[in-house]
């Protein structure tokens, strides 16, 4: 337990000190929010429920969480693996599961300020008005349900090399963002794309936020898909880790 805490503190310390990385990660979805806001009338009702300014804010919370997870988990982890540091850790008493858990937790920690900042920009710049309770539950729920993104980020970090990390992370960001309806509502898309959106975690993550805001309550499907993604990806990380152990790569 002492090991886990020590490693957690070390990781968080490293993240906080890399403030340039954090500024870019946090700034990205906020910039997108301001750019996209003018694409439609802010008050245009999307899918018969919420106005565009709210839809986009929730979408950018999802997108921001995704970006943070993929860059913090994926990009940074692949560089670290390339440097040989994770291999060095494998020959210390730190258990492998502690390493993975800490990486996922640290990624979750980066996601929270991103979501908060998008909310703040939505409330000020975007003119979104919600009750205090809704703001709070929206932020907390969006954050906690971003777990599959964090696991995805760490999974990508395990899969890619430092050279392939950038294209893979960028591609995933835009595939999950665009086809998950985060830039444009899926309602306006062709039937095939609408169907495709339903298998993406990004779509379900944003759907949970939207359901919260428009008072529809929570849909079991959204949660099930997200839990499924988190579980599958966690399993994939374990399998990957074990095969690496057998082959001696790290």
């Amino acid at each position: 337990m002492g090991q886990l805490l020590a490693f957690g503190r070390f990781e968080v310390g490293r993240l906080v000190r890399s403030w340039k990385f954090l500024v870019i990660t946090v700034g990205f979805p906020v910039t997108f929010y301001m750019l996209f806001l003018g694409n439609r009338r802010a008050g245009e009702v999307i899918g018969g429920t919420v106005p565009w300014r709210v839809y986009l804010m929730v979408s950018m919370c999802s997108f921001g969480a995704l970006v943070a997870a993929l860059t913090a988990g994926g990009g940074r982890l692949s560089t670290e693996r390339a440097s040989g540091w994770s291999r060095q850790l494998r020959v210390t008493p730190l258990p492998a599961w502690s390493y993975v858990t800490t990486k996922v937790s640290a990624t979750m920690l980066v996601i929270l300020p991103v979501i908060v900042l998008v909310d703040v920009v939505g409330a000020t710049f975007g003119g979104v008005e919600l009750s205090a309770g809704t703001w709070l539950s929206l932020t907390v729920v969006m954050w906690l349900t971003a777990l599959p993104f964090a696991v995805l980020g760490v999974f990508i970090g395990f899969m890619v090399t430092a050279e392939t990390a950038f294209p893979v992370v960028t591609a995933l960001m835009f595939v999950l963002g665009y086809f998950g309806g985060l830039f444009n509502p899926v309602a306006g898309m062709p039937a095939a794309l609408r169907a495709a959106a339903h298998v993406l975690p990004s779509f379900h993550h944003a759907s949970i936020g939207l359901a919260l805001v428009d008072g529809h309550g929570l849909t079991a499907t959204n949660w099930l898909v997200l839990v499924g993604y988190a579980a599958l990806l966690a399993l994939a990380i374990m399998v990957k880790h074990r095969t690496e152990e057998a082959r001696g790569i790290s």
Binding site: A6, F7, S83, G84, Q88, V91, P93, E245
Partner: protein, 325 residues
Amino acid sequence: MRLRRQTSEPNTGRLRVRGLGGLALRFDEVTHRYGSHPALDGLSLEVARGETVALLGPNGAGKSTTISHVLGLLKPHSGSVEVLGVAPRRAVAEGRVGAMLQTGSGSGLPPGVKVSATLRLARRLYRDPAPFDLTVERAGIGHLLDRQTQRLSGGQAQSVRFALAIAGNPELVFLDEPTAAMDVAGRRSFWQMIRQFRNEGRTIVFATHHLEEADQVADRVVVINRGRVVADGPGASLKASVTARRLRFVCQHPLEGAFDLLDGVTEVEVRGLGVTLDSFDADATVRALVRSHVAFTDLEVTGGGLEDAFVALTQRGPALSGGAR
């Protein structure tokens, strides 16, 4: 610095006295394949506690694969490995083993953090770490503590990685080509420190390309080739075991076929008028050469150093028909 764990460990039936009794390392007929290529081919090796052992061998001989097995990073396809009397992963999890691995082009250190923070973390991962200041002094990294890890030179990063390897106060230390990026002075002080470390009763196993390092630092040199131990003994006895010599001379009409049949000759090379013969019995070859009435001049016989012993050991033997690596 005493090794506290040696007295506090539960009794495993092995005598835990410094440098005596019990094996630090035992490889029993270990085989490991990468695809169809056998990296380890029935490798057997024992290292006693307190010994300093050099693993020597050409690239791809199986040195790093051996170290990966010791650390439990690889599992043998057949055979067994024991480290300090237990399974490798357990010895690592108990913090009794320290290791410095090869890192390729990377520094082996976490980017974006100071050296001091990295060392502090490493200590906290072990139950019974060595004092911070002592580790800093041993690795000679006092002047690097405030540096960011990504701003270190190759040799400096290597020293820091050594500090991480010994931070846990390990009984057994593995070093995979520890001085590869160090300059001459760095190398000298490094081995100085290793000697001192050994005198405390710790077991040290290191892989190297540098023959003189192996000869000067290790109690025992283990030569590995093609995944097997081909020689094992003190550097001096390895040198003595090899009688291979090289004969060079000039000959006006060199005919390659004529030299093959001379006594003791294992290899013939003719370049212009220059002839080079490798022989396992130089005396017999010279006598045969004289008897053959070949007109030769400028005869020169060389060989007999550790380097020649190494070349001879890794190039002969039934496993190596054809001689090419």
